[in-house]
């Protein structure tokens, strides 16, 4: 029997999240390269037609692990269910998207099985028999190729955006869907989660802004935000920020861009003193043009910038405001 790659997809109310499709794409690519068999598992209490949807893709089989105890999500129930299933299936590789939910239970699952998870990977390499997973380290300044030094099952989580979800291959004939029974004793679930909610309505909707000037910790002090505001004003755009700026209360939370803030895709995103951590980048990489000003020539933000200025933002921004005003005044 060939080895199995198992992709555990993440769903909410019968709908897959986008990064689960990305992980399926990764699974398909890995299966093609290794000759291993790709299978998928759907987990929840009412997964609806989801298994069918996944079965229409190029996978050998789809398992449905359904239990009322999996809703709402708790790490105890998820680990109990997946540990039983994975122990009986013994896949070589278990792939999941690196979502907030997965990072909540995967380390527990791997530990419970005396294994390890290589987390938040952005790609993989096959070197001979060796499978290397690529992940960012030092906040994206460096990348590492990491290998497993233990027996399978090997757990891997993939970062949001690492693969193309729209590239997942379909198959004309649907893969078989199999229901799996798992036992989750009631008394093992210790956490009692309440409803998911959103904080008070956002006052500004940055998704509509065409031009965004965003500041990061490079702005140093609250009072310096003024010059970024002046630049935003001169350009006719909105001011936004990285998380630490909002955490410090220098700008309101609804101006935060990134995985825990807003996701924007303006015509122009001007990043001032932002390092370009992945959690920030996922919120703005869809911008049509990205300009970054950073004094560190190796800042990861430059990897996605169209125009880059290596320098002190306090030297660049004041003359830039003047230049913008000049050009605008002339036209």
């Amino acid at each position: 029997m060939p080895d199995i790659i198992l992709v555990v997809v993440e769903q909410r109310e019968g709908k897959l999240n986008r990064v689960s499709w990305e992980t399926l794409t990764a699974g398909q690519a890995l299966a093609a390269e290794t000759g291993w068999t790709l299978e998928a598992a759907v987990l929840g209490s009412r997964t609806g037609t989801l298994a069918k949807e996944v079965a229409a893709k190029k996978v050998a089989k789809v398992y449905v692990i359904e239990s009322p105890k999996l809703e709402p999500y708790t790490p105890d129930a998820f680990v109990a269910a997946l540990k039983q299933f994975i122990s009986s299936k013994q896949p070589k590789l278990v792939l999941m998207p690196h979502t907030y939910q997965v990072r909540d239970f995967v380390p527990k699952l791997a530990t419970a099985m005396d294994r390890t998870a290589i987390s938040d990977c952005i790609g993989y390499k096959k070197e001979g028999d060796k499978l290397l997973l690529t992940r960012q380290m030092f906040q994206g300044k460096l990348a590492a190729d990491v290998s497993f030094a233990c027996d399978p099952p090997w757990f891997v989580t993939f970062q949001n955006g690492a693969f193309r979800g729209d590239k997942v291959e379909a198959e004309s004939s649907a893969a078989p869907v199999e229901a799996v029974d798992v036992e989750i004793p009631e008394n093992i679930i210790r956490n009692k989660p309440h409803e998911v909610f959103k904080e008070a309505k956002q006052a500004v909707d940055l998704t509509q802004a065409e031009i965004i000037v965003a500041v990061g910790r490079g702005i140093k002090e609250q009072k310096n935000i003024e010059i970024a505001k002046q630049l935003a004003e001169a350009l006719g755009g909105e001011i936004a920020a990285s998380r630490p700026i909002c955490d410090s209360g220098w700008l309101p939370m609804d101006r935060q861009i990134g995985s825990s803030g807003q996701t924007v895709a303006p015509k122009l995103y001007l990043a001032l003193g932002i390092s370009g951590a992945i959690q920030h980048i996922v919120g703005m990489k869809g911008a049509r043009t990205i300009i970054a000003v950073n004094k560190d020539s190796e800042a990861p933000i430059f990897e996605i910038a169209d125009y880059a200025v290596v320098g002190n933002l306090f030297d660049i921004v004041p003359p830039l405001i003047e230049e913008v005003k000049k050009v605008k005044g002339a036209s």
């Binding site: 790490p75 530990t111 294994r115 390890t116 906040q139």
Partner: protein, 284 residues
């Protein structure tokens, strides 16, 4: 020490009357905070000869969410009284993190002192912590939600599993309740969720949960007399296994985008930028 707790922690999983449990728990909170020293955010990093790690002659600082975890522990102690203990695993210079924590108000510190501790994977770091705190009865353990160097986002959750404790991740608020704690988890895209859980529990703390305090002069003075226990690598070696994942090589990531670097004195760069904004980006 344990005399302050009429109910030993292990009993919590049995069906002991909630009343006894409450009495014991509402009095004091004993909190452990895991704090890591990481290279400073702006520090230029260079690879060492092995090509699998960085050169260690950089400046260091405390891992950001860990600073928030400490602050939260201090605030909880101020509310409920009890004890705040800080722990780090790293070489001699990592002691700085503990010294700062003691100056801010932590009661005592544990230093797993050896450069080898830094090269452990998440499970072995957690094993080392679990072994080092054996015999202590904490109600809560806080870690940061992830480290700036490895970025595993795992050590806390793994430690909870090793201890057999419940956990919750990416925490933005903590309140003590009658039966345990009520925490606010951050979820993706601006969503949140409250979760109730029993004690003892492990929480991974998100940056921004509170406002950090500064150490005071008196605090810095007092810190000198606070207990700092050192634990060596050999003492814990039997608890640690070999790493289950291995960094084969470390490198500067390849650029995928065609980035145009604008150079020159600031005034000139500003001119070039304005020109791009008008002619290429077409927003002026």
């Amino acid at each position: 020490m344990c005399g302050r707790f009429p109910t030993p922690v292990v009993v919590l999983y049995t069906s002991l009357s909630t009343l006894t449990r409450q009495d014991a728990r509402s009095l004091l909170l004993k909190i452990l905070v895991c704090m890591k020293q990481v290279p400073q955010k702006d520090a230029p990093l260079k690879l060492n000869e092995t090509g699998a790690w960085i050169r260690e002659d950089v400046s260091y600082e405390v891992n950001e969410p860990d600073a928030y975890a400490l602050e939260e522990a201090l605030r909880q102690k101020e509310k409920h009284s009890g004890e705040v203990v800080v722990i780090t695993a790293g070489p001699a210079h990592a002691q700085q993190v503990l010294r700062e924590a003691l100056a801010k108000g932590a009661d005592r510190a544990i230093h797993l002192e050896d450069a080898s501790f830094v090269r452990l994977d998440a499970i072995n770091t957690a094993r080392a912590f679990a072994a080092a705190i054996k015999g202590e009865k904490f109600d809560l353990i806080f870690t940061g939600l992830q480290s700036d160097d490895y970025g595993y986002a795992q050590t806390g959750v793994v430690l909870a599993e090793l201890l057999g404790w419940p956990h919750a991740t990416i925490i933005m608020q903590i309140e003590k309740s009658d039966s345990g704690i009520r925490v606010k988890r951050e979820l993706e895209a601006g969503y949140f969720q409250f979760v109730e859980m029993p004690l003892p529990a492990l929480l991974t703390i998100q940056s921004g949960i509170n406002k950090l305090r500064y150490a005071t002069l008196i605090g810095i003075k007092q810190a000198k007399n606070k207990p700092l226990r050192k634990v060596t690598f050999p003492e814990l070696q039997s608890a640690i296994g070999s790493n289950m994942q291995k960094i084969e090589r470390l490198y500067v990531p390849q650029k995928t985008k065609n980035t145009e670097f604008l150079e020159g004195p600031p005034g000139e760069v500003a001119k070039k930028l304005a020109e791009k904004l008008r002619n290429e980006v077409r927003v002026l």
